[in-house]
């Protein structure tokens, strides 16, 4: 497939945030809490004793975040010579479908499940069942509240929301902000809202409007237009990456590009491009393809019983706040390495990586 990395089976290392889920300061449900910066080091292919069979269960494969995740997972599976099959639920509304896919995966004889759950809670029984059958489960990308998972690799969207919120609060300017966090009722939407609200609480940033809506572009387009009509005096819009994409054109069209700053709760390649061009200001990258790589490696580590660190159950690639030239003094776009976040141009999702190739 286009853009696949060379397979050499060598170990690699990358900066990461590590969390001990059993530490008293950490909430064991979902393992959220303080973390320490460190490094994640991958296995070497020679350390892998079996052609392990791993399933990845994704919410969908319709946007760059999850395609990037697939890219990272497929790449690392090839590096380690394990088999990886990917299924997706087709959207966040398909909870039952995802439960089914986890079960299908277990009954197909997999050794481990990489679970990117569509819901924080709803996969817990399926996880319990998989664990009972002796299948390793790694919580990837979205987070589940079950304490039974063997390991976690994720950027909590609370942290993502918090990251952009903290940044805004740190500007120490009084800002009127409209928040467009994403589809109503989706776990990640509510979590990024929660993080953002917590971060700006007590600061000079005021949230004047919150509007939910699907991440379909036509929906966000309408939402931003109405938000602008409803709040002509806002200073910033904080929204999904799709919000940023549609809002940049709209603001330019309405001649408000100078007055209203655009911020995101996550990024897509297009959103990064907008930040680079100065049409948007800042947004955090969760580094999804990096998450993908670590998740496969962690699963194999679990199966091989070679933990990186017995005390650390949760790893996250160091999240990045990408800011562009428009945000005076914060421009870091030159340093941004997109390969940690997205699949290379032209990458087709790999649904089936066979072992030993």
């Amino acid at each position: 497939s286009a853009g696949a990395e060379p397979v050499n089976g060598e170990s690699w290392s990358a900066p990461a945030l590590l969390t001990n889920c059993k530490s008293p300061k950490v909430d064991p449900r979902g393992c959220t809490g303080p973390n320490t910066p460190g490094t994640y080091t991958s296995l070497n292919r020679s350390e892998v004793t079996k052609p392990w069979r791993i399933c990845s269960v994704l919410p969908h494969l319709k946007d760059p975040t999850w395609v990037g995740m697939n890219y990272g997972q497929a790449t690392q599976a090839r590096q380690l010579g394990v088999s990886l099959t990917t299924t997706d639920a087709g959207g966040y509304e398909n909870v039952a479908q995802q439960v089914t896919q986890v079960e299908d995966c277990v009954s197909s004889g997999a050794n481990a499940v990489l679970l990117s759950a569509v819901s924080n809670e709803s996969l817990n029984p399926a996880i319990a069942k998989a664990k009972k059958k002796g299948v390793a489960v790694v919580d990837v990308g979205n987070g589940v509240s079950s304490a039974e998972v063997d390991a976690r690799v994720l950027q909590d969207y609370v942290d993502m929301g918090k990251m952009i919120g903290t940044h805004l609060a740190a500007l120490k300017k009084s800002l009127k902000v409209a928040l467009l966090p994403g589809p109503a009722g989706a776990g990640w939407t509510e979590r990024s809202r929660k993080g953002f609200e917590a971060a700006v609480a007590g600061s000079a940033v005021e949230i004047v409007d919150v509007k939910y809506g699907d991440t379909g572009k036509e929906v966000q387009l309408k939402l931003v237009e109405d938000t602008l009509s409803a709040n002509p005096d806002i200073d910033a819009i904080v929204g999904t990456a799709i919000t940023m994409e549609v809002a940049a054109t709209l603001l330019a069209e309405q001649g408000k590009a100078e007055d209203i700053g655009l911020y995101g709760t996550y990024v897509t390649p297009q959103a990064v491009e907008l930040i680079k061009r100065g049409q948007a200001k800042c947004a955090p990258s969760e580094q999804s393809s990096q998450i993908g790589k670590i998740s496969v490696d962690l699963a194999v580590r679990t199966l091989e019983r070679k933990p990186l660190d017995k005390d650390i159950q949760r790893y996250a690639p160091e999240p990045l706040l990408i800011c562009g030239p428009k945000e005076d003094g914060y421009d870091n776009t030159a340093k941004f390495d997109a390969t940690g976040s997205f699949a290379p141009q032209g990458w087709s999702p790999a649904f089936n990586v066979e072992a030993g190739k």
Binding site: L61, V95, D104, V118, S119, E121, P125, G185, G187, N352
Partner: protein, 331 residues
């Protein structure tokens, strides 16, 4: 006449004729289903594993319940687009209620009661809007989908509702009787009950009359409104039951549960020979329709078919299966 001469020769055409006969009278669906199972079993032996088959059964129960309800409504020449939202609201309400309960065995009953009661209320509202206000059911239930979703979001505040007592999931999702999981058992019992209801009781038969020719039913003295309302109530109650079982299965209340069942339930019912225009539909064929969709998706997952291709295949199979049925009927 020639049987004594060469048994092999005559047996074959007779069998062939009989199986052709079977296909022509009972429809292609059973034949297609069997064919598909055989193909999957050959290509991927794990498909016929006991545990996998049990999986398919367990997964199909929710769709089965909802598709049965949908069938009943379709037979009345109506449509219920709100089954998905009913599942969602039921999930949220049942989770809220049981989470606030003592957690003892009565919380199972409490949850069941609250969920089914909700189903009755939703069905009554849908049914009355259709029967009294004469709003076409497509629009009525499109509207109520929106209302129910709004309610589910307001109650849950967009977050999953946790804290269901363990006993709730144990009783309604994980426990099994004689090796058969409780939800599957429930599904089978209800399917049999509904089959009898639709084919052998007066309200059931009246539904066929109302859906087949409303005016005729009216002048024959059938209470058309009551019949239609009853159909919506049955459908919503079945959807609520699916919502309860799903909630037990996923262990939390979710406002996003169920949306995918709307189109699937209609597809399964129509695949099972139910007419979209009313008056026609048999329960056991809807069961086959549900199994067909369940097996197709399970098999493709086992064969690691890419989800993009799965979309494509499901669409084509849906069209082809219905077309084959139609063309057969014409021939």
């Amino acid at each position: 006449m020639t049987t004594t001469l060469s048994p092999e020769r005559t047996v074959t055409p007779a069998t062939a004729r009989r199986s052709l006969q079977f296909i022509l009278t009972t429809g292609l669906l059973p034949a297609l289903l069997i064919l598909m199972c055989v193909v999957f079993a050959i290509v991927e032996p794990r498909f016929v594993d006991g545990s996998n088959l049990l999986n398919v059964a367990r997964q199909s129960v929710f769709l089965l319940l909802i598709a049965m309800g949908q069938m009943i409504v379709l037979i009345n020449a109506q449509l219920d687009l709100s089954v998905g939202a009913t599942v969602a609201l039921t999930s949220v309400v049942v989770a809220s209620v049981t989470a606030a309960s003592s957690g003892g065995p009565e919380s199972v009953l409490l949850g069941l009661g609250a969920g089914l009661l909700l189903g009755v209320v939703i069905g009554l509202v849908n049914g009355c809007i259709v029967a009294f206000w004469k709003v076409p059911s497509f629009m009525a239930t499109l509207g109520s989908t929106s209302v129910l979703t709004g309610l589910a979001l307001i109650i849950s505040k967009g977050a999953p509702i946790i804290g269901l007592p363990m006993i709730f999931s144990d009783a309604l999702a994980t426990s099994s009787v004689l090796g058969i999981p409780v939800p599957v058992l429930l599904g089978v019992v209800i399917a049999i009950g509904m089959g009898i209801f639709m084919s052998r009781t007066v309200p059931g038969r009246n539904m066929y009359a109302v859906g087949g020719n409303r005016a005729a039913a009216l002048v024959a003295g059938i209470n058309v409104r009551k019949t239609v309302i009853l159909a919506f109530v049955l459908c919503s109650v079945l959807a609520s039951l699916a919502g309860i079982l799903l909630t037990a299965r996923v262990g939390s209340g979710e406002a996003s549960l169920g949306a995918s069942f709307v189109m699937l339930s209609i597809a399964a019912a129509v695949l099972g020979g139910t007419s979209l225009f009313g008056g026609e539909g048999v329960l056991w064929r809807v069961v086959l329709g549900v199994l067909f969709l369940g097996v197709l998706s399970n098999g493709m997952n086992l064969l690691h078919v890419s989800s993009y291709i799965q979309e494509l295949v499901i669409g084509m199979v849906l069209i082809a299966a219905v077309a084959a049925e139609r063309l057969k009927r014409v021939a």
